[in-house]
């Protein structure tokens, strides 16, 4: 029984790993191919099956004037927008979540839970509902087709995630921890940043990761709210497609698009398993 369980477990893990890794291998191999190698016959192994070339990668950094599709600028635009919006969302969201977790708000029939739901309801709506208001809003304040405008929109999209995750997290931090800090001579602000915040790092990391992922992969708003001045990576990658699908450069751009997320995942994984609150409450 024990052996059978082990066998099934490892079989499943191996199958799953293949399922996850295969597309990456496919993309890596394809990114080094040219038109001939992709379209003639099935090929897998460089040098044996086909002659590898860097053309697919070169296209991504060449300027359009020289026949390339320059994704360097959109890449850094995307990094800037995602990181800035995530950071601001985490800071504001954490403060909001702490207030929602620790204080009681009453306004008419509105209570804490209603406010929390209001935040998350921003994400329940299909994005297309928000696109027109966002468009009008940004064009009114003159931020259409600009990095700042995108940051503003992304904060609206990402902050609910941060609030939602952090409210849940703070609710699990014993209130007695804050109270002890107050008794030990901290004012409420000091209690927050000297005691509660240092013990909330796992929650902050999870919230930050979700913000970065959702910000990084967004195509819809980046597509609707920008034209020529500013372009974000997802839009540019899609724009690669023309009458002939350039599988090689698409694969290359897909790989460098997921690269930051893979790095984030590996860095974060370490902290997630390490930090916990077990010492605060029995």
């Amino acid at each position: 029984m024990e052996k059978l369980y082990k066998f099934l477990k490892y079989t499943f893990i191996i199958l799953w790993t293949v399922f996850i890794v295969a597309p990456f291998l496919w993309a890596i191999s394809t990114s080094f191919k040219d038109f001939q190698s992709v379209n003639s016959k099935v090929t897998y192994i460089p040098w044996l099956d086909f002659e590898p070339t860097l053309e697919g990668w070169r296209v991504l950094v060449k300027s359009p004037a020289r026949g390339g599709v320059d994704i360097v600028e959109p890449y850094f635009n995307s990094l800037f927008v995602t990181c800035t919006a995530s950071l601001i969302s985490i800071v504001l969201g954490t403060l909001a979540a702490y207030a929602l977790s620790r204080f009681t708000f009453k306004a008419g029939f509105v209570r804490n839970n209603d406010i929390t739901f209001f935040f998350i309801s921003q994400r329940i709506m299909p994005p297309i509902v928000l696109s027109i208001p966002f468009f009008i809003f940004l064009s009114t304040i003159g931020l259409l087709d600009s990095l700042i405008g995108l940051v503003v929109v992304y904060i609206v999209l990402l902050m609910p995630i941060a609030v939602w995750i952090m409210v849940d997290f703070f609710n699990r931090v014993p209130k007695e921890l804050d109270e002890t800090a107050l008794i030990d001579g901290c004012n409420p602000y000091q209690a927050f940043y000297k005691v509660v915040l240092p013990n909330s790092i796992p929650g902050l990391i999870v919230a930050g990761m979700f913000c970065i992922i959702f910000g990084w992969i967004d195509f819809f708003f980046a597509f609707i709210l920008t034209f020529t001045e500013v372009q974000l990576l997802p839009v540019k990658v899609v724009a690669l497609n023309s009458s002939i699908t350039p599988w090689w450069s698409l694969s290359a751009s897909a790989l460098i698009s997921v690269a930051p997320l893979i790095i984030v995942a590996f860095v974060v994984e370490r902290y997630l398993s390490k930090g916990n609150l077990s010492g605060a409450l029995k």
Binding site: T180, I183, D184, G185, C186, P198, A280, L281
Partner: protein, 359 residues
């Protein structure tokens, strides 16, 4: 110069958490608050600490109105029943945290922390992480942090309740020495618990709290010997005092066809129905006694608790050895009538074996 509370009332929902609580606590003394779960003990301590604002009433300390002073300026210390420490800090940093907040210089901090560590027996644990400590050690750190502060008011909210039996006994012993030696003369120590035995051992001034109301105050011995009513008798005994509804007629007490010769201290009682109270430890197995049926037998430590039934009367007897009983078995027990309490139908104490009251 005392801690004086007047008519504290706190009613956040439809139930009183504090109901007209007043007291006058003197410096350098130990006060224990005895009450069952949800009786308002924690609320009272949090009110003193300033974490809760009472709906009405006020607290004065050293002739100053305490209500205007925020928590962080009150110079109180509190130990919770959960082991609350700062998980991101080491043991040393935990204990020095309040001192750093108060901006003491490094030397004084070190001296205070070392003293506190010595008092709670955690020398050598300075650099440990909180998560690496056992529950008992975590609670010692919490206690050390509150001692190192040398606060004028030290609040301990059921500090032993989450510990296992053995550790509880051990820490309780240590607490007595710490309270006697480790505290400054001007500290007011307030200790809340559900355990009557803890109250008796700490032997301070007792406040019996129930549903937010103070039922009785006085020295521990007083509460034990003369509980003013049935409620106090129940709360201040573990297992709760047995209450038997019986009739007093000339020279005897009868209930469930049992006749017990009237003890001397009850000779002046009028003939009528009373609630007779008797502690579990005053009911003994005796072959010449009365027959009861066993409903349940619990073994706790070195004792056996027998839940007995006869007709509609249920009593608990505490047998001071471990014995095996079968449920529904019949046993004979004897009541030590010299230790009978008498309560009126409305619950008021009429007579106790330690003092005779008329009424």
């Amino acid at each position: 110069m005392n801690l004086v509370a007047k008519n504290l009332t706190y009613k956040p929902d439809d139930q009183y958490h504090l109901n007209d609580v007043s007291f006058n606590f003197e410096k350098g003394r130990l006060y224990t608050i005895l009450g069952r779960t949800l009786s308002g003990k924690t609320t009272l301590l949090k009110t003193i600490a300033g974490l809760l604002n009472p709906d009405s009433g006020n607290i004065n300390f050293e002739d100053k109105n305490f209500s205007k002073v925020p928590v962080w300026e009150r110079n109180v210390a509190m130990v919770y029943q959960q082991f609350i420490n700062y998980p991101h800090l080491s043991v040393y940093e935990n204990i020095s945290f309040p001192l750093k907040q108060r901006k003491l210089n490094e030397e004084d901090i070190k001296k205070n922390v070392d003293d506190a560590l010595k008092t709670v027996g955690l020398v050598g644990f300075e650099n440990r992480k909180i998560q690496e400590l056992s529950g008992g050690q975590q609670q010692r750190v919490a206690l050390a942090r509150s001692l190192a502060k040398k606060a004028k008011i030290l609040l301990l909210d059921e500090p032993l309740v989450n510990l296992d039996y053995k550790l509880r006994e051990q820490l309780r012993e240590e607490f007595k020495t710490i309270f006697n030696e480790g505290l400054a003369n001007e500290t007011i120590l307030i200790y809340s618990t559900t355990d009557p035995q803890e109250v008796m051992e700490l032997n301070g001034e007792v406040i019996v709290l129930d549903e937010g109301k103070v039922l009785q105050t006085g020295p521990a011995k007083d509460i034990f010997e003369n509980p003013i009513n049935l409620k106090v008798a129940e709360i201040s005994n573990d297992p709760p005092m047995n209450i038997i509804n019986g009739l007093k007629i000339d020279g005897k007490i009868t209930f469930e066809n049992i006749n017990i010769k009237l003890p001397k201290h009850l000779s002046q009682l009028d003939n009528k129905n009373y609630n007779f109270g008797i502690r579990s430890s005053e009911i003994k197995l005796d072959d010449s006694g009365e027959e009861f049926e066993i409903e349940l037998a619990e073994i706790s430590g070195s004792e056996t608790l027998l839940h007995l039934k006869r007709g509609s009367t249920k009593v608990i007897a505490l047998i001071e050895e471990v014995m095996n009983f079968k449920i529904h078995e019949k046993v004979k027990v004897e009541f030590n009538s010299d230790k009978f309490y008498v309560f009126a139908e409305d619950g008021k104490l009429i007579s106790s074996p330690y003092r005779i009251k008329n009424g």
